[in-house]
């Protein structure tokens, strides 16, 4: 978006308020000077000078106020011509760049925070659970091995241990699902393509992932936002296109392109407060766009385009 043209009455470096103050000062000085001069001439009309001088003084004591009023009026008009505090020369381009940068910083901070949570869960709760189940498993084994010599009062112990073991395993499973939803380690280890294949295999949707050309090295945030887009798109497909097959295509030029097409019934739309709408915002934070095409009867195509260089073309 180009900045608006500055108003012609305003100097290049002047803010309207400053200009208005100067015009007001000029009015004040003009008024005072004109007052003094007129008083001087008025006294002269009643003095002892010759008729000619007195006539001239009379003319001037009428003319000066008239000229002053005309001058004041002109200055007033000039003042009003100034738009009330019009931010005409605010650097819109810079302002916009700052807002976009800060949005990106917030989105990146969000990403860093996700990774921290993932790491904390991985290093903390997950390890503790594994260690706990190891002990439970070993306890069960010991009990089993010594079942013959154990007093009958301990008979109820085995099912209790087994129950605790199962509960802890269930906790591990659900924690694992949570952790991989927050930020998948595979994304860092094996890259977007393999991580998306892995996700597709888990999704329950019959989806084929295609990536005809090797993806270039991409900024971490771009990879993360693309991964979340795929996740959202697959969730969407599993809801709206059940029993259908889908194709996910990954490709890159100056942008990263992700498209998912399914042969379901179509009719999908961006629901207010829905996941896809949130996804569009998330993409926008990185200068990305999202398109949804879903005519009734299908097919539904959802695509995202994310610039790999985070500097828009007109600024570079």
């Amino acid at each position: 978006m180009a900045g608006r043209q500055p108003a012609p009455t305003v100097g290049p470096m002047e803010v309207p308020e400053q200009r208005r103050r100067k015009l007001f000062a000029a009015q004040l000085v003009l008024g005072v000077v004109a007052g003094i001069v007129t008083t001087r001439f008025l006294t002269a009309t009643t003095g002892t000078a010759s008729d000619g001088w007195r006539f001239l003084a009379l003319l001037l004591s009428v003319g000066v106020p008239a000229a002053t009023i005309w001058g004041l009026w002109k200055l007033e008009v000039a003042k009003f011509a100034l738009k009330p505090s019009a931010p005409a020369d605010v650097d819109w381009a810079r302002e916009l760049r700052e807002v976009r940068d800060s949005r990106r910083v917030i989105a990146s901070a969000f990403e860093i925070e996700r990774r921290r949570i993932e790491r904390d869960l991985h290093d903390g709760a997950q390890q503790n659970l594994v260690a706990a189940t190891m002990k439970l498993g070993e306890a069960s084994l010991v009990l089993e091995q010594h079942a013959a010599v154990a007093p009958h009062q301990l008979a109820g112990l085995a099912p209790l241990l087994e129950g605790a073991h199962r509960d802890a395993e269930e906790a591990m499973r659900s924690l694992r699902a949570t952790v991989s939803g927050i930020h998948p380690q595979v994304l860092t280890d094996i890259g977007l393509h393999a991580a998306v294949v892995d996700m597709a295999e888990r999704s329950g949707v019959d989806v084929t992932v295609r990536c005809p050309h090797r993806l270039p090295d991409m900024p971490e945030e771009v990879v993360a936002v693309a991964w979340f887009f795929c996740s959202e798109a697959l969730t969407n497909a599993s809801k709206h296109a059940q029993g259908c097959s889908a194709t996910l295509l990954l490709g890159a030029d100056k942008d990263l392109h992700v498209s998912i097409m399914d042969n379901g019934g179509g009719g999908a739309w961006l629901r207010p407060r829905g996941g896809l709408l949130g996804m569009r915002e998330r993409l926008a934070a990185f200068g990305g766009t999202m398109e949804l095409s879903s005519p009734l009867g299908g097919p539904t195509t959802l695509s995202a385009h994310i610039p790999l260089l985070l500097i828009p073309a007109h600024e570079s």
Binding site: N128, D198, R202
Partner: protein, 230 residues
């Protein structure tokens, strides 16, 4: 058996060491990072107390990525006779194909009967102690252990399974699992090259492995080996 155990979490490492020791095995060294593991294996090898099996976590320092997996591949190339069990908190087919297929070349690094065994398990499996000990024994004997969760990923369990394969196709798949190329298989089974490639293509399509999928051969073989060990 003699073991080396690597995990950056002291809690888990100590727990695992205690567990295997109480089951009558000997832990010759412990490591908390990938370089430490490589150094421990090398020094054990030099001191003539080479481990039978190395157990390592995937995610370890210094990179906190898949450093453990890279270390496992390194150990495989330096000391092919040592069995390796890779444990991970999160099972991804891509890690498995990396481990069993090497990185990029698509050649199987695990061939039953030749070299040390190879295993890939979810950490959760340790707690089923008896099964876990059995897995260790299989790896020590040069066998292959693949987490059942990986297998279902590898071949899209929803649509296809090994049951759909004909007898001939299973035979071809078995020879593939021994690391044989199509040409070698045609020599072994007295079949024409085109017949073998037809069988191989059928195996892939029945297992739901479409053209363009990475490491199809490794995936098919892993699925076969998993079905054989569970």
């Amino acid at each position: 058996m003699k073991l080396i155990i690597a995990d950056d979490s002291a809690l888990l490492r100590e727990g695992l060491v205690g567990l295997v020791e109480r089951q009558g095995h000997e832990v010759v060294a412990q490591a908390a990072s990938a370089p430490e593991l490589l150094a421990a294996v090398d020094s054990a090898y030099r001191n003539d107390c080479s481990p039978d099996v190395v157990i390592t976590d995937v995610r370890m320092p210094p990179g906190m990525g898949d450093d453990g997996l890279a270390a496992a591949l390194e150990i495989r190339s330096r000391h092919p006779g040592i069995g390796i069990l890779v444990l991970s908190q999160y099972v991804a087919a891509a890690y498995a194909t990396d481990l069993f297929g090497g990185r990029g070349d698509g050649v199987l690094t695990a061939t039953p009967g030749g070299g040390g065994g190879l295993g890939y398990l979810l950490k959760d499996r340790i707690s089923r102690v008896a099964d876990f000990m059995r897995s260790l024994t299989i790896i020590e004997a040069g066998g292959v252990v693949v987490d059942p969760e990986v297998a279902t990923r590898l071949i899209r369990g929803k649509r296809s399974s090994l049951d759909d394969l004909s007898g001939r196709e299973l035979e071809v798949l078995e020879l593939m699992s021994h690391g044989l190329s199509n040409a070698q298989i045609s020599g072994r089974l007295f079949l024409s090259a085109s017949a073998v490639s037809k069988h191989v293509a059928n195996v892939f399509s029945k297992l739901g492995l479409t053209t363009g999928e990475d490491n199809r051969r490794v995936r098919a073989v892993l699925a076969y080996l998993t079905a054989a060990t569970h």
